[in-house]
Every structure is written in C-alpha cells, then in structure tokens.
Amino acid sequence: MSETTYLQAIHDALREELLRDPRVFLLGEDIGVYGGAFKVTKGLLQEFGEQRIMDTPISESAIIGVAVGAALTGMRPVAEMQFADFITVGFSQIVTNAATLHYRHGLAVPLVVRAPSGGGIHGGPFHSKNPEAWFMHQPGLKIVAPATARDAKGLLKSSIRDDNPVLYFENKFLYRRIKEVIADEEEVLVPLGRASVYRPGRDVSLITYGAMVHAAQQAAEILATQDGIEAEIINLRTLKPLDQAALTATVAKTNRVVIVHEANLTGGIGGEISALLIEHAFEWLDAPIKRIASLDTPTPYSPILEEAFMPDAVKIIAAVREVMHY
C-alpha cells in the first residue's frame, strides 16, 4: 500500500468527484495541459476533456463569477486560484455574489474555490498569503483548511458535495512534504464543520489548522520530553463554521489555550476563537489565551526574514510555557 501525498490527495479527490458526478467541473489558469502551477490537476484534462477541465484567461473575478453562474444552473464548479494571494481579485465576487445568493434569493451556490496558500517557500509578499480571515467575516461562506493528506482529500470531497460556496485553502508548503496511507478502495469523506483531536493531551490546548498543525506537533513532542507537558492539538479543519463543541470540550479538559495560525496576528481567526472561548468557556480558563501567528507585516522574501516572521515550534513552546506558568 503506497503513501499518498497531500498534493496527490487533492488530485485524487478532484478525480473521484469528477468521476462520480457529471455536474462537477474545474476551471482555472493553466489547469489543463500544464496540470496547474503545482501539478494538482495533472492528467485530468486528458481524462475528462476540455469541457470539464477549463483553462481560463487571467481573470480571477470572472473565474469566480462564472463559477457562481454555472453553480446557479446546477453545475458544481471547482475554481482554482493559481496562488491564494490572487483571491483578492475575485474578492468582490465571493463576498457579494457567492456568499449572499442563498440568503437573498434562496439560490444554492455549490461552488468550491481552491486556493494554494501559505509561506515558508520564499515566495515573498504575494505568493505566501493566508487569506482565510478576510472571509471569516462574510456570512454565507464556508472555509476549510486541511492539515493532513486524509483531511485534504476528505474535506475537498465534502466541499464539492456541499451546496454552499466553500473556500478551500490548501497549504502549498505541505504539498509534497507530508503523506499517509489512504487505501484505494476507501471513500474518504471528512465532514465540514468538525474539528479533530490531532494529538490528545491533558495540560494545554493548541488550537490550530493547516501547516501549523505540524509545527504544533513538533512543539508538543518537545514539550512532552523536555517539560512533561502534554499538549492537546485541535486541528480545526473547518474554519467557518467553527466547531464550537470541540473548542469548548478541549478547554474544559486542559484549562489552558494557545491558538496558532500562520496568517498575520491582528484580525486573524485567532481573535474570533479567543472571543468565542471567552464567551462560552470562561469558567474553564485558568490562564490568558495566547495567540501565536505571523508578525503583522507582509511576508518578507529573504529566508532569514521569513523565518523571523512565521510562527514555528520554538515560538509555540515559549507560549505554552508562559500559559503553563501563569
């Protein structure tokens, strides 16, 4: 049984859904002949043809707008942003059209926008963005951010089957860096809206998602050996809607929280989570909630700067020690 990378898992999810449902189609820049900038869609044009694997002009607003229109007629488009950074160009179509059509008119918009996000690859300010928090504030959207190959597959398949617009932020740093065994015959479906306990622990909760799940894991291992601290890692998987029950449960168990995300600190999803915990789990908190995130700057290019900018195990460990000694 061979192992499936995070990237391959995304590919497989697309392929399986294309096979399962003739209403599914893909659109985006260079996704056809080239197989996408990261080769996620490699081979799909050959298998499914130009009707279902649609190369588009460089027009992110139209890509999303067209996807919304096709969704309204009953299709299930999966749009790709070549880099998550360029979702800014389609921002208005997402928050204005896609997000509101059901509330305003009762019209379902079964649409997925895939957006390769995240840093650590020396992409500089415009090839490293984690844009999820921008969309947190818009009613009507769902937001997904897988941390593992299995989640990547299962969440994408669920996103495609969901009747709502789902923003699927895949972390491009993870593409070829993580893999796990996924059996061919297994139908992997991870439900939207449900977090998972990535690592159980009794002492402190690390609430995180995406690539930072792995930084948290590294931190947790060191904390366990060096400090005897057992950190519980909550892998959010879906960012909107948040899994309130899972959040409350972990805090009730550990009484201490560090939230970790790769997006910039201020205005990030960490603030929302912190506020929710205060509102719904105040009595269980024995220490202030800490947030570890990227600095409040654009992502700098030079590796030495990028490293200082991004959260990592070292920063997480320091934060955990702080809340443990509160």
């Binding site: 189609f25 707008g65 179509q93």
Partner: protein, 320 residues
C-alpha cells in the same frame, strides 16, 4: 431575419405600457412612504428593456439590473410579485431580504442583480456556460449601463465569454448618464459597441427607443448565441428620462436633450407605428391601458395588505 409578427408587436407595446404604469405606481408608493428603499425607474428605457427580454425563450436566463423592470415583465413576472418585493413583504420573491429591483425567480429563470455594477456579467456568462454544459439550448441575457461598462468585470466577463464562445448577450443601456455623470466623462470611445472588437465578438449600436429594431437585433444575437456562434454586445442608445433614483431631482441633466428624447418616447413611437400599420386602433389602446391600470391597482391593494416577514426568521437560510 424574418419580420416581426403582429402578435409580438402587440406584446411589445403591452409590456412596455405595463412597465411604465408599474413604475409609476412604484414611485407613487415610494412618495407615500410605503416603499422605503431606493427606486430606480426605467422611464425612457422601456423599448430597450422590454424588446430585448422579449426575444428570450423559457429556457433562457435573464439577468436584469437596476432599471430593467421591463425585462422582468417581459420574461413573465407578475405585477403582484413585483410589488410584494418592493414592499418588503413576507411573500415577496426575496421574502423581504432584498430591496426593490433585486429579485430572482427560478421558475422564470430570472436571476436578480447585486448592486455592484458589472458583477452580474461574469455570473451571467457562467449561467450561459452552465446551461450549455447540461446540453440545454439556453442563452443568457444581461444588461449594463454605459457608466457600469467601465468596471473591470465588464472586461473580464466579456473576454471570458468570447474565449468560451458562450451563448451570451450583453446589452449596454447607454442612457447618457451614470447617476450625475454624463457619458463623455465616463469614457472617450466613439461607440461603446466598439469595445466588442477587443473581445473578437460582434458589437452593434442600435436606437434604444426603437422597440422593433431592438427586438430584431437582439433576436438575431440570441439566435446566433443559441446556434453556438458565440456572444454579442449590443449598445442601445437612449436616454434616462428621470433622475438617477426617485429622490434625485436631476437638476444636472441636459434639458434640451431631455426634451428631444421626450418627443421620441419609445412607447409613443411604438403606439404610433402600430396605429399606422393598423395593427391596433385607438380603442384597443384605451382598453389595454385600462386593463393594465386595473391589474396594477389590484396588485397594489393585495400587496399592501400582505403580511410583513416574521423577524424570528431573520437568520434563516444563510446556508443552503
């Protein structure tokens, strides 16, 4: 292109009359304080909105914008539904969630607009492609003002339509003003229809007050799209005969140009034509006007009596 049947000609006139009268009713309900949101009329644009939308068939998708009540009516919407919508009633098509002209009707394949000008263009192109992907022979028809034609989505949407050879038709309603801004301050090209050249699609300019000519031209473009020959851009040159919205006194508008266009009122032009061609007579006109007015009054009465939405349900339906 075959000639237009008498039946269609009468239909054109009837829907145009109904459009004018319904809008007059909406303005009067607005002045009475019954309608509280923005009211943008299509006074002077009735030929453009009605004649274009009347070319559509049942399976076609209509994407009207803020002055296109005539297009809604042409595609079969009822005055009652329109007034329930404008009055924010529970049984309105948007259940009180959307303001005035922003409403959809899946039954009629009408998709309501967002306020953001141009934003519906890519969406309409997507509907055109979605229909084609499902083996339908449907066409999507969308509108944009001459002012709105300067927004990025116009460019991205039309270019996308051209590349995909989408069954899509876009009407530019060049009514000479965008809010207070005269067209020459919005763009400097000779004809907006010429923007079609940059997308490799046909673009024509047509007299926006000539219902029959518009019908002919749009019908041909819709036919072309339906046959897989791709999208078209049609510029209807007309005039906004009132302020931007019901609260705008239009002091900035060119009075001479307004007077000129008043003499070329699209409804009067068509009436005269149909009378000349002896397709209708004066008494028929009186009768139709009477019927329209009765329908509208009855609808208004029913809509005003209809219940408001239940605030307990305000959070329902954010997700499908």
């Amino acid at each position: 292109m075959s000639s237009i049947s008498d039946e269609i000609k009468i239909k054109l006139l009837t829907v145009m009359l109904k459009t004018r009268a319904t809008e007059e009713k909406i303005v009067s309900l607005y002045r009475q304080g019954q309608i509280v949101g923005g009211v943008y009329t299509g006074y002077g644009l009735e030929a453009t909105t009605v004649a274009s939308a009347l070319t559509l068939e049942k399976q076609d998708y209509l994407f009207p914008i803020h002055r296109d009540l005539g297009a809604h009516l042409a595609k079969g919407q009822s005055v009652l539904n329109i007034l329930l919508q404008y009055l924010g009633r529970a049984d309105g098509l948007s259940r009180g969630r959307e303001s005035g002209i922003h409403f959809s009707d899946t039954r009629l394949r009408i998709i309501g607009n967002v306020s953001h000008l141009g934003a519906m263009i890519p969406v309409a192109v997507g509907a055109a492609l979605g229909g084609r992907m499902q083996g339908e022979s449907s066409v999507a028809l969308n509108y944009i003002g001459e002012g709105g034609s300067n927004i990025g989505d116009f460019h991205e949407g039309l270019n996308f339509a051209a590349v995909q050879n989408a069954p899509f038709v876009l009407i530019i309603e060049n009514n000479r003003y965008a809010y207070s801004t005269p067209a020459y301050k919005s763009s400097r090209c000779e004809k907006l229809a010429d923007r079609a050249i940059g997308y490799g699609m046909p673009g024509v300019q047509v007299d926006g007050n000539d219902a029959l000519e518009i019908y002919r031209i749009v019908k041909a473009a819709v036919q072309r799209a339906r046959e897989g020959q791709g999208p078209s851009l049609i510029e209807c040159l007309t005039m906004r005969m009132a302020g931007h919205s019901a609260h705008d006194d239009a002091a900035y508008m060119d009075k001479k140009q307004l007077a000129e266009y008043a003499r070329r009122d699209p409804i009067h032009l068509l009436e005269r034509r149909l009378l000349e061609e002896k397709i209708i007579d004066r008494s028929y006109l009186t009768r139709v006007r009477q019927q329209v007015s009765e329908e509208i009054e009855a609808a208004a009465e029913a809509a005003l009596a209809a219940p408001l939405p239940d605030p307990a349900g305000v959070s329902d339906g954010v997700y499908a």
